[in-house]
């Protein structure tokens, strides 16, 4: 199940690591997560649900969906998709007895006091850290629950359009490693550490946990930037919880970051840019793409991406969707059918496609919950991808000193996320100690972001931002009069 040949990526796997899955000895590589190591060993089913015994596997691959949880070294409910594989690990499924064997040790407590805490080390978070470090003499901390920095950039093998400032012409993976190097100069970095809560203790305060190492961090911060990204949307159809039904990003993660194939042949639901790019990346990794289905009458993504995929003989069915995933313990096929004007399936148009995975590429929802816990008012704004934290042009939310940037603020793309991160950082910096050239820096960043949001493809983002700003100022006025 490992990717053997790839036109762009080279997987220099580390040393072999021995681990145990339900008592069976297996091997993975250094750098694998538990989930990718299991996958490389052909294990798709990670367990069964406690009550209805439905098979479970991973879906999102980035620690957001909780579908991949297993018992690891006696500790229950470990998210295997973001937990690095270690020598001798005991990985178990279907364990629902009391964690008697859990090796409880009193967690180590560490307190920190920083100027700017950034939650999330993706493009927005890293850009914010770099910008803050460049313009001011402040302490910056990035906290991320993944084993490495880069967020979703580390799985983007395609070249970016965007603006040259944000690395257009380069591949996401290249941008990620350049930014990481830069960010490490300016910021302290806590990886594999989950922020579990925001608390106002007279000052901004974050509680964070490194579960496997057993460390609790108590972090006091002057300003906080939430660059917490997004999570993949799900689709309702029969058997949609079977292992082998993945988020598009989940596939990109195991394939492009860890060099593990999601299966032999699959279909993709959604012909937006993510679906189209994923199809091409699957082909590059030597995985068959049997079809792309799109509920809309038209392909949503860029023409160049669609053309590339079509050239490789992948059929794109518009006005089609998935009815059912077929299979007992994991996906063995998919039934797709045509949709009528009212989005109902047209009976008699069903097609069965043999495949061992189904990729869901139907968009993202901002992860704004931590910001909400920090007091940011949220509102449902369709154009922005769902419930979003209201914020102003400086990315500050309705809670003083709490910022949001990137996909967490509204669903856009990496270049815009980086500029948003920078704007948030500069504003945070300026309110800690005023910058002499604040206006000029912001002006430049503003110009950059509006050029990114030009034209037809920027329309949705422009509309979303308008409504977010509107909501923010409405909220401020409401607070004053109330």
């Amino acid at each position: 199940m490992r990717v053997e040949q790839h036109p762009i990526l080279k997987f220099s796997h580390g040393g072999m690591i021995k681990f145990y899955f339900n008592g069976i000895e297996m091997y993975g590589f250094e750098g694998d997560t538990i989930a990718t190591a299991l996958y490389a060993n052909g294990i798709k089913v990670f367990g069964h649900s406690a009550k209805k015994k439905r098979p479970r596997g991973f879906f999102c691959g980035i620690g957001k969906c909780s579908s991949c949880m297993m018992r690891v070294n006696g500790v229950p409910n470990i998210r295997t998709c973001i937990t690095p594989l270690q020598e001798g690990m005991i990985v178990e499924s279907d364990k629902y007895d009391l964690p008697e064997t859990a090796p409880y040790r009193k967690p180590e407590r560490k307190t920190m006091d920083v100027d700017i805490a950034i939650v999330g080390g993706g493009p927005a978070g890293m850009a914010a850290a770099i910008e803050a470090g460049k313009h001011g003499d402040v302490s910056v901390l990035i906290i991320d629950e993944q084993p490495r920095l880069g967020g979703q950039l580390i799985k983007q093998t395609h070249k970016f359009f965007g603006s040259s400032m944000e690395g257009a012409g380069k591949r996401g993976i290249e941008i990620a490693s350049e930014m990481e190097e830069e960010a490490r100069k300016y910021a302290d970095i806590l990886l594999e550490t989950s922020v579990i809560g925001y608390y106002n203790r007279g000052h901004h305060f974050l509680a964070a946990v490194n579960k496997l190492k057993g460390i609790v961090y108590e972090i006091k911060a002057k300003k906080i930037i939430f660059a917490t990204g997004a999570q993949e949307n799900y689709l309702v159809f029969e058997n949609n919880d079977l292992p082998g039904v993945y988020g598009a990003g989940g596939i990109q993660t195991i394939m492009n970051v860890y060099g593990v194939k999601p299966g032999k042949a699959g279909i993709i639901v959604g012909a937006g840019n993510v679906g189209l790019i994923l199809a091409y990346q699957l082909l590059q990794a030597g995985v068959k793409v049997k079809a792309i289905v799109e509920a809309m009458p038209r392909i949503g993504g860029y023409f160049v991406h669609a053309a590339k995929v079509r050239r490789h003989g992948v059929p794109i069915y518009t006005k089609h969707s998935i009815m059912e995933a077929v299979g007992k313990e994991s996906v063995e096929g998919a039934i797709i059918a045509q949709l009528d004007e009212k989005w109902n399936f047209v009976l008699g148009t069903e097609k069965k496609i043999d495949c061992d995975f189904i990729a869901i590429a139907i968009g993202l929802t901002p992860s704004a919950r931590l910001a909400q816990m920090a007091g940011a008012k949220v509102k449902f704004i369709r154009e922005a991808g769902g419930w979003v934290a209201l914020h102003n042009e400086f990315m500050e939310t309705t809670a003083n000193g709490i910022y949001i940037a990137g996909d967490a603020a509204n669903i856009e793309e990496a270049s815009a996320a980086m500029v948003e991160g920078k704007i948030a950082a500069v504003h945070a910096l300026n309110s800690i100690s005023p910058l002499t050239n604040f206006e000029a820096i912001v002006e430049e960043l503003r110009n950059e972001i509006s050029s990114l949001r030009k034209g037809k493809f920027g329309e949705k983002a422009r509309l979303a931002k308008e409504r977010i700003y509107e909501g923010y100022y409405e909220e401020l006025r409401g607070n004053r009069s109330g």
């Binding site: 406690a50 009391l98 964690p99 008697e100 090796p103 409880y104 809560g197 608390y199 108590e218 007091g375």
Partner: protein, 381 residues
């Protein structure tokens, strides 16, 4: 919106919903108004325990009558309420506790409760994960007919049964004023319209003093922020609710296996403070680990806050106001509203329809605060 009703109830918590049912059963035209939705306030945030072990006979009797209703409630309402009787296990920490416990048990037995004092061995038999040393418990009292119900299901079941009887619920509707003329309730004014009525019931929980104020009535209630948390689901271990009046802790295992509990937060605050605290999380985790060491590695899924509507003696205020006719007090439950709601609702329905009351409620009138009262000792959370 309806322009007229026999009774307008403010608040769709457990008390508002239960009263709507009891009144609609008696043929009254009832309207329930809530700023949010059913069980959005304290009801949906509570520990949902049902306890009969009280320190005064009146309270114990009220709770016992409530349990009798709970026992047949699913059948009566026609909807599930998740009621089960796993008992309440109340820690006794020292000789002083023991003295009070003996007194309580004697009184509770006299009204027919099957309560008894159990030793440290039996504590572990009833709740195998408890560590009496960590609890610092020398014994406990246990009443097997105490229990638990699902607060969302129960409130909803009452509401659905009330609607079936003709009651109307206006959700996301805010009361803006209460018109009083000649010391009589005339009209309830909301942001969606006005309803003429002779009776308005203040069942607004932590916001009850704001509603009373609209009718020119001052009540001594204070909203106190309380916190709770829930762990990941565990296999079924125990059925009882474990509590300690000394430590203020309570916890039990829910239907899906998660442990739900609370303890007074070191940052406990009076006023409308919604934010959960880090100090609560730490204190509760620490105490849970002391009471049940095996839970030390367990993940906490969620923490949240809610409000106790607290009176000076920690007892509810029930009955018609002495100065404003038709204004019915149904508040001040001080953290125990859920467990006694079936009975308090029945009593208030009897009062409003002029029936004979099953239990006297004069001792719970608003006027008692002028004379000075005895505080209920058996309080947790």
């Amino acid at each position: 919106m309806k322009s007229e009703a026999d009774v307008v109830i403010v608040g769709a918590g457990i008390n508002g919903c239960a009263l709507a049912y009891e009144l609609s059963k008696r043929g009254k035209d009832v309207v329930v108004v809530d700023r949010r939705h059913i069980a959005a306030g304290a009801t949906g945030r509570c520990g949902a325990g049902i306890r009969q072990q009280w320190s005064t006979k009146e309270n114990a009797l009220l709770a016992k009558k409530s349990v009798e209703i709970f026992e047949g409630l699913e059948e009566e309402l026609g909807h599930p309420i998740g009621f089960r009787q796993g008992g309440y296990l109340i820690a006794i920490h020292d000789e002083e506790d023991m003295k009070q416990a003996r007194k309580n048990v004697e009184m509770q037995k006299s009204i027919g409760l099957p309560v008894r004092i159990i030793d440290r061995e039996e504590i572990k038999e009833i709740v195998p994960i408890l560590d009496p040393d960590g609890m610092k418990a020398i014994a406990a009292t246990f009443c097997p007919t105490d229990g638990h119900a699902d607060p969302f299901k129960t409130a909803n079941a009452y509401a659905l049964a009330a609607i079936r009887n003709g009651a109307t619920f206006y959700k996301f509707t805010e009361v803006r004023g209460i018109k009083v003329e000649n010391r009589e309730v005339r009209e309830v004014i909301t942001d969606k319209g006005s309803i003429k009525t002779k009776f308005v019931v203040d069942a607004a929980g932590a916001w009850s003093s704001r509603i009373a104020e609209m009718a020119g009535i001052k009540i001594p209630n204070k909203p106190v922020r309380k916190e709770a948390l829930v762990t990941e689901p565990l296999p079924r271990i125990f059925d009882a609710m474990v509590i300690s009046f000394r430590h203020g802790i309570y916890f039990s295992q829910m239907a899906r296996g998660e442990i739900l509990g609370g303890i007074p937060s070191p940052e406990e605050k009076i006023g409308y403070h919604f934010e959960p605290t880090w100090s609560f999380l730490k204190k509760m985790a620490y105490m849970l680990g002391r009471y049940a060491p095996i839970l030390k590695g367990t993940n906490i899924l969620r923490q949240w806050t809610g409000f106790y509507d607290v009176t000076p003696d920690a007892l509810p205020v029930l009955g018609e106001d002495k100065n404003v006719r038709g204004f019915i007090h149904c508040h001040g439950f001080s953290g125990h509203g859920f467990m006694i709601a079936p009975m308090t609702a029945r009593l208030l329905a009897q009062l409003i329809t002029g029936e004979k009351l099953d239990l006297p409620i004069e001792r719970l009138s608003l006027e008692r605060f002028e004379k000075g009262t005895v505080k209920e000792k058996s309080v947790v959370g």
